[in-house]
């Protein structure tokens, strides 16, 4: 075991990385096609590209998780073979993966200590680990309790654990794959403070994000990939949002949607004093009352873990309300199952799309039919009518611009953006009266985000009452008519879009009630 316990300190200051001519094929795709990529000491270098452009693949090659089919990696000028994460760690490379690599049933300290030698030989000794975690927390502003179980942590905290894991292993170069996708603005700010501190110490940093303002904010240089190929590397100082978007997508992208005024109708979704428990049994929603009217988008802002997800699930019928009532289009659905709610005109875009929204190994067609497979014309007398189903799905795929090789392609082999579009197609095809959209563009590239926003606004124009749950304030400000801020299971305040600004929302999200200045 090469790694040792804390206190050894960094072995130097950062790494110079050069990846040359990297090629990686997967069944069906050329994920990296002769990509060149450099990172210098003390630099924050962003990788940018649409979903499926090959960013994560390049990073996984760097970390020894994938073997490149061709190409070379040099560190400080020396060619290196990185054939395992162990080797990458030895070389001083750390990685924050797009999907967190944590063991939920273990404590923070156990997660950090995993794979390291212990001073007590074969026996676990977590006390020094906890101490060192606290030191690192202190030094980089990464607050986290070493004794907490990981499954109890918020997403932001989990991310801090990931960073601590890398720092603990003396990572000189740290790659962060979409670290901000799940963070609140405040958490993003905190993260950036940490990253800048690390860069200032000489660490080399690779950053991946779909949010252009973040990219422009944090990066020194930006490298753009498209369809696995290198488009170019630009200095952040010379870059603009529109220019980057064009490099990524290969065309002009409308970054701001026009929110036309819409006639607001009667209340479609009414929530009265709803209470619900979270997964851990604690009260997560504590007496929330909201009304969403036809033609209106009501956004719920808030730091994740403040009851938004539970509230959305209560409305969708996936979580039992322990108190209060939910009405859809005037009918009380508090005790109804998801199917009954759907029949009354509810649609739902779940936050965890691969868990709640789609069946990965089912085909695109089967996924598009997930709610309607058992009703005519798609099924008769218990038998599926494939001709009818295919006709319907073809239309949806065309209408919603889902890019898939065929209707028989498995859902999981689509890109994140296209999976989201397929779910959107299914949910919006019934022209719902009420739409609950949870984090509809999380992790989705700007092209697809643009498209999804347009569809949500279209739906608003058609009289749908939309409850939008998002941690992305830009998204909220771009779409919402009114904004409710949730904090610790309660609605702090509901503000009109016109009166909302990032500062005021941020304070509310932090639990500071409006003093009415």
């Amino acid at each position: 075991m090469a790694e040792t316990l804390p206190g050894t300190g960094g072995r130097g200051h950062g790494l110079d990385l050069a990846m040359r001519g990297i090629v990686k094929r997967f069944p069906g795709v050329l994920a990296n096609d002769h990509v060149d990529f450099d990172v210098r000491r003390g630099e924050i270098h962003t990788l940018l590209g649409e979903n499926g452009a090959g960013k994560s693949t390049l990073m996984k090659i760097l970390y020894g998780l994938y073997r490149p089919d061709a190409g070379e990696i040099r560190i400080d000028g020396e060619p290196v073979q990185i054939d395992s994460p162990r080797r990458a760690i030895e070389l001083g490379i750390g990685m924050i993966h797009q999907h967190f690599m944590l063991v939920p049933t273990l404590t923070v300290a156990e997660n950090v200590a995993l794979g390291l030698a212990s001073p007590k030989g074969p026996l676990l000794d977590l006390a020094p680990v906890a101490r060192r975690i606290e030191e690192l927390s202190e030094a980089y502003g990464l607050r986290v309790d070493p004794g907490a179980m990981v499954w109890q942590l918020s997403v932001g905290e989990q991310q801090r654990v990931e960073i601590i894991k890398a720092l603990y292993r003396d990572a000189e170069l740290l790659a962060l794959d979409e670290p901000t996708a799940v963070l609140t603005p405040q958490e993003v700010e905190d993260l950036f403070v940490t990253l800048r501190a690390m860069a200032a110490e000489g660490h080399s940093l690779i950053f991946i994000s779909h949010k252009l303002h973040e990219v422009l904010d944090i990066s020194d240089r930006i490298t753009v990939l498209r369809n696995g190929r290198l488009v170019g590397t630009v200095s952040s100082a010379d870059a603009t949002k529109a220019g980057l978007a064009r490099m990524m997508v290969g065309r002009e992208v409308v970054l701001e949607q026009v929110r036309a005024p819409v006639e607001v109708g009667p209340p479609r979704l009414e929530i009265f004093d709803v209470r619900a428990r979270g997964d851990r049994g604690t009260e997560a929603v504590r007496g929330v009352s909201l009304q969403v009217r036809a033609g209106e988008i009501l956004a719920i802002a808030g730091v994740s873990g403040n009851g938004q997800r539970e509230l959305a699930e209560v409305v969708a019928g996936l979580r039992e309300a322990t108190g209060g009532r939910v009405l859809i289009d005037g009918s009380d659905v508090t005790g109804a199952d998801p199917g009954q709610r759907r029949a009354l005109g509810l649609a739902y875009i779940p936050e965890e799309r691969m868990r709640d929204g789609a069946i990965g190994q089912f085909t695109v067609a089967e996924n598009l039919m997930l709610h309607d497979f058992d009703r005519p014309p798609f099924a008769r007398h218990g038998f599926l009518d494939f001709a009818e189903i295919e006709r319907h799905c073809r239309r949806l795929v065309a209408d919603f611009d889902v890019k898939t090789p065929s209707l028989d392609t498995t859902m999981k082999s689509l890109s994140g953006g296209n999976i989201q579009k397929a779910i959107l197609a299914r949910e919006l095809s019934a022209n719902p009266k009420v739409l609950v959209a949870s984090q509809p563009t999380r992790g989705v590239d700007i092209g697809a985000t643009e498209y999804i926003h347009r569809r949500l606004l279209d739906q608003r124009a058609r009289g749908t009452a939309t409850l939008l749950i998002s941690e992305d304030l830009d998204e909220i400000l771009a779409l919402a008519d009114r904004i409710a801020v949730m904090y610790e299971g309660e609605v702090m305040d509901v503000v009109d879009r016109a009166d909302a600004d990032v500062g005021r929302l941020g304070l509310l999200m932090a639990g500071v009630r409006d003093s009415g200045t």
Binding site: Y63, L65, R86, I89, M101, V103, A117, S118, L123, L124
Partner: protein, 310 residues
């Protein structure tokens, strides 16, 4: 019913329950290691049979009991290596390859027995080892402290296993690999290495369980285990993947079986109902789980092969 509650009967019933639990316990604690790391080994019964035969044959040929145990462990390790190779390296469907190993062990142990031994000649097992002082205590002395060394070893294994799983760096790796192998992999933990280790350890313990059975009974016979290995696997689920829980399950199973035997011997259970009584351990095991309302989650990666980047 009164005669059942005489202390002599109680003592022998409990002592018998402990002995009946012993071979389950070895096998089930071993299986716990494998399952905690994400590998289901349904071939335990076959491995037990081969281990039992290995130990029996060694002792019969004058190799001595300790060598017999070593042989059983070795047999278990070899079978474990094969099992790990199919489940970890070849990523075979574990529930089914396990049944294959079971049938293989069932057939091969019988074949070897018939070819090498033939007539089931008796061997002498470990002598009763009375623990000083404790064995002289009234009632509990006879119940708990007058057994052969294999019985103590099986029960000692429980805290050892719990310690390894919860207090060592290896245990941390095992738990991580069973919950989130990808995360362990990204920290340089060899997922395959850990799984080979646990499956081989588990199989070695299964072999030892078989050896315990053969030496305690002093005999080998076709299908000596009579399905104990399958029950051991079930007891891992019963024990919610914790050594102590597994021990509770083994004890429950063994004690119910011995109580039933005792009641039949005393004529309290009529002979016409003897099959119904034989159902009791199985039924009670299920009921205990239903009533105990423990919704322990299984290791998230259980039965799922891991391949980097898949």
């Amino acid at each position: 019913m009164g005669e059942f509650f005489t202390s002599a009967v109680l003592v022998s019933t409990v002592a018998s329950g402990l002995r009946l639990s012993t071979s389950y316990l070895f096998a089930a604690v071993g299986e716990t290691f494998g399952q905690r790391s994400g590998v289901l080994n349904l071939g335990v019964d076959g491995i037990m049979l081969l281990g039992a035969f290995g130990a029996y044959y060694t002792v019969l040929n004058g190799g001595g009991l300790w060598l017999g145990m070593v042989v059983a462990i070795t047999v278990g390790l070899v079978m474990g290596l094969a099992m790990a190779f199919t489940s970890v390296t070849l990523q075979a469907e574990q529930g089914i390859s396990g049944i294959g190993f079971y049938l293989f062990g069932l057939g091969l142990s019988d074949l070897l027995f018939q070819k090498l031994v033939g007539t089931p000649l008796p061997i002498r097992g470990f002598p009763e080892l009375r623990i000083p002082f404790l064995a002289d205590l009234p009632v509990v002395g006879e119940m708990l402290f007058s057994h052969s060394i294999v019985v103590y070893a099986a029960f000692l294994l429980v805290p050892v296993a719990a310690f390894v799983l919860n207090r060592t760096t290896l245990g941390l790796k095992i738990r991580s690999v069973g919950e989130n192998p990808e995360a362990a992999d990204t920290l340089g933990v060899s997922v395959a290495g850990v799984r080979y280790l646990t499956v081989m350890t588990g199989s070695a313990l299964a072999g030892l369980g078989g050896a315990a059975l053969a030496t305690e009974l002093g005999i080998f016979q076709q299908n000596l285990t009579a399905g104990q290995g399958f029950i051991a696997v079930a007891l891992v689920y019963f024990g919610a993947w914790r050594p102590v829980g597994v021990m509770a399950g083994s004890l429950l199973y063994g004690l119910v079986a011995s109580v039933v035997l005792q009641l039949k011997t005393l004529g309290i259970i009529p002979r016409s109902a003897s099959e119904l009584a034989a159902m009791l351990p199985a039924v009670l095991t299920i009921l205990a789980l239903v009533v105990a309302v423990q919704r322990e989650r299984q290791p998230a990666a259980l039965t799922k092969p891991y391949e980097r980047g898949a």
